[in-house]
Every structure is written in C-alpha cells, then in structure tokens.
C-alpha cells in the first residue's frame, strides 16, 4: 500500500508539474541540451526527398496494452512529426511493426498526416507493414526487407531487445545510414556498438523525441516535469541514505 501511495504522490506531482511547465513554456521556448540525433532525423527526411530514396522506420514489437505501451506511444509521437514532414515532401517512409495494435495506430497516424496536408489520395496502405509477432522473427524479416527494398535511411524507434542487432547489421552491410534508440537496456547494449553517439538515443532521451521534433510546448513541459521529478527523487535517495547511515530509518 505504501508503494502505491508513493507512486500516486509521484504521479500527482508530475501532473501539477506538467500544468505549471505547460503554462510557463507557452510563450517561451526552453533551452535543453542538444540532441544531434533529432536534427539528423529531420535532415534525413529532407535528404531522402532530394535523393528520391526511401526511409524505413522500425517501431518494434511493444504492444499498446503491454508494459512497454508508452514506449510505443512516444515512438508514435515522434513518428507523427516525421510523417508530417515526409508527407509534405511526398517521400513517404516505410514503417514496419511487429505488433498488431501498434500497426493499426501507425497506419492511422500516417493516413492522418496525408489528410492534414489534403493529399490523402497519395496515401498507400502498404506504407505501414505488420511483419511478425515474435521479436526475433520481426528483426530478421525487417533485415531481409532492408536487403530487398532500396532503403536510403533506417530509423529505429521503439522497444527493442538484443535482436535489434539483426537490423543494424543488415543496414551496416548495405551501407544504410541508421539512427534511433530504445529505452530498454538489452536493446541499448546491442545498439551501442552499431551506432555512433550522435546517432543513438539512450534510455530516457527516447521520450524527448516528440518534444525535439515537434517543438510543441506540451512536449517541452513534460521534459521540464521529468527533470523536476528526477531532482526530487535524487534528493530523496540522498536524504534516505544519510538518514540510514545515521540509523534514523531502516534496519
């Protein structure tokens, strides 16, 4: 019960922080540390438009009703901003997923990007593809896909484990520029040797994708809130450590 109350308190503080930062950032853009990977994402869309090549976006296998649901939602937020850009250039990316619920939402998001620009008749249902349910099979099939279709750039955004190395290896062999990230430690272990630091999103940086690509104040507010809560949690850890050393709390 105590754990539930702590979680409720953290969520409530987060909710208040989101409102306060949302109002604060409505009129002025905050300055965050630079994430070169996000600049790269937008640049890749532009470069693909110029070269006429195709961008592939791998969204992974995290279901919208599973424990990594919010990872997929964060990936879809980043995808939404990228889809708008790609639809404006008329260089649609090919999106692959390994989860049916994620496939439906990605397909709908892509269709809406075209509708927003009044270009719905250019939208093709084959732009978003469901590949396979098993993560390793999904990664292997996506790797095969990179070989078969002429892909210019490869973006990895979603919950991936070590099987992601099948995709990055295929991309490296074909000389396809790859970038992206995952919040899962096992996936990061596989992405770290394959991608340069400026191409890689590590852990929580993944959740900054929507804010950096869209530059909307609501996304910026959540970054502000995350920072505030991080300081609070760090302070609490240090305080509990000191109290524990002094023998005031704990065994």
């Amino acid at each position: 019960m105590l754990a539930n109350l702590i979680a409720l308190a953290i969520t409530l503080i987060g909710a208040v922080a989101l409102v306060v930062y949302g109002l604060r950032y409505r009129n002025r853009q905050p300055a965050w540390r630079a994430f070169p990977v996000f600049t790269g994402l937008s640049e890749e869309v532009g470069r693909s438009a110029e070269e006429g090549s195709v961008i592939h976006i791998a969204l992974g296998n995290a279901s919208l009703i599973g424990e990594n649901a919010m990872t997929s939602v964060a990936a879809l937020e980043a995808l939404s901003a990228l889809s708008d850009l790609a639809a404006a250039y008329d260089t649609p990316p090919i999106i692959t997923t390994g989860d049916p619920t994620l496939y439906l939402l990605a397909d709908d998001g892509m269709r809406r990007s075209y509708a927003r620009l009044g270009n719905l008749r250019r939208y093709r249902r084959s732009l978003v593809q469901y590949i396979a349910a098993d993560p390793t099979t999904y990664a292997a099939m996506t790797a095969t896909y990179l070989y078969d279709v002429g892909i210019g750039a490869n973006i990895i955004l979603g919950a991936f484990d070590e099987e992601v190395s099948l995709i990055t290896e295929a991309a490296a062999r074909r000389g396809i520029y790859t970038m992206g990230g995952t919040p899962l430690a096992s996936g990061l272990g596989a992405l770290y040797p394959a991608l340069k630091p400026k191409q890689l999103l590590m852990g929580e940086e993944f959740f900054a994708a929507g804010a950096e690509i869209s530059q909307q104040s609501t996304y910026q507010a959540s970054l502000g809130g995350q920072d505030l809560l991080r300081w609070l949690i760090m302070g609490s850890i240090v305080l509990i450590g000191i109290l524990s050393i002094l023998g005031i709390v704990g065994g």
Binding site: N4, L5, A7, L8, T11, G14, A15, L18, S63, L64, I65, M70, T71, V73, A74, L76, E77, P100, T101, L104, L105, D108, R112, R125, Y130, T136, A139, A140, M141, T144, Y145, D148, V149, E162, E163, S165, L166, T168, E169, A172, A185, L188, A190, Y192, P193, A194, P197, M202, E204, F206, F207, T218, Y219, A221, S222, L223, G225, Q226, R230, I233
Partner: protein
C-alpha cells in the same frame, strides 16, 4: 465530434479509471480496471486479424510482381496459411499445431537467436575497427571481462565480472530504469491531459 472528441473522451476516461484502479485497489475501481483491460485485449484480437490480413495482402502483392523477395513472400504466405489452418482445425493446443511449433517455429527462432549472438560480435568488431574512442574500449573491455568471468574456475576474473554486474552495471541500470519510468509517466499524463492524442484527429 466522432473523430476527435469521442475518442479523446473515452481514452481519457479509460486512462483515469485504470490509473485510479491501480493506485486504489478496492472495489469497484479495481473491478472497473479489470474490465477495461479485458476489453482492450478483445480489441487487440481484432487488431491481430487486421494485421494478419494486411500481411497476406502485402506479400501476395510482392509475389504477384515477382521481383526480388518473391520467394520470401511465398514462404511467408505458405507458413501463415498453414499456421492459421492448423489452429482453426485443431485449436492452439492441437497435436499438429504443437508439432508445427516444436518442429518448425522453435528451431527457426533458436537459429535466429544464435545469429543474433554472431551479429553482436560482428558489431563489436566493427566498432573496434571504426570507432577507436575511450567509450568503445571501455565497452569492449567490460564485455570481455564479463564473458571471461562467466567461465568456471577463472579466479579473480569471476570476482571482477561479479563486481561489474552487481555494482556499476546495476547502478547504471537503475538510473536508466528511473529515467524511463519518468518518461513513461509523463507520456501517459500527456494523454490523460488531452495534450497528446495518438488515437484521434488533431
């Protein structure tokens, strides 16, 4: 209204009820939470059917064009239809279904996992060749020490590997998980506050 307000209203309502049911696990909130999650699972089953049909459509189109990858598409269509027919005929626990899983799917996935280990080693070697930074050397040193430490009777290497796993790696992992948890909380709060709606029109 049907494109924006209703989906957003139901998403926010469901999100709030599930959140409250998690934090306050008493009736009727936990019962409502259970029902909402069960409904979501039923909807997900329909998503599986749609995704399956789309998978067949894409591969049939590729097969029809008979370009590069057509053989792969043929194998995908054949295995998808066989799996579907077997489950329809005998159910998920049927003898032929189990035979198909244990004789075809499991060996295939095991082979892919072995391939993953090889691609990881190749990625490490490529990193050593192309990216000679302090971070790369540290990464590879830790990998080698951990692998050697996992071998029996390695003496001090075993202790070093254990220390790496249970002190710096665990600390780093906890930091990572903490950051990801905060990102998860704020992503869900944005949906509950209606500032982000991946499920409806803007």
């Amino acid at each position: 209204m049907f494109k924006r307000i209703l989906p957003t209203f139901f998403a926010v309502l469901a999100g709030l009820l599930v959140l409250l049911g998690t934090f306050i696990p008493f009736s009727p909130l936990n019962t409502i939470r259970f029902f909402i999650i069960e409904w979501a699972k039923i909807v997900a089953v329909f998503a599986v059917i749609l995704a399956f049909l789309q998978l067949l459509r894409i591969h049939l189109a590729r097969l029809g064009r008979f370009r590069k990858g057509a053989i792969t598409s043929l194998l995908v269509i054949a295995s998808a239809i066989i799996s579907f027919a077997l489950v329809l005929w005998q159910g998920a626990g049927g003898e032929w279904t189990r035979q198909f899983v244990s004789a075809v799917i499991i060996p295939g996935q095991t082979a892919l996992l072995a391939l993953t280990a090889i691609t990881l080693i190749m990625a490490g070697m490529r990193m050593l060749r192309k990216r000679r930074t302090f971070g790369s050397f540290l990464f590879l040193t830790v990998v080698i020490l951990t692998l050697l430490g996992a071998v029996p009777y390695m003496g001090i290497l075993e202790d070093i590997a254990n220390w790496i796993q249970f002190v710096p790696a665990l600390a780093g992992m906890r930091g990572l998980v903490l950051g990801v948890a905060l990102g998860t909380i704020f992503t869900s709060l944005r949906i509950i506050f209606m500032t982000s709606h991946p499920h409806s029109d803007d």
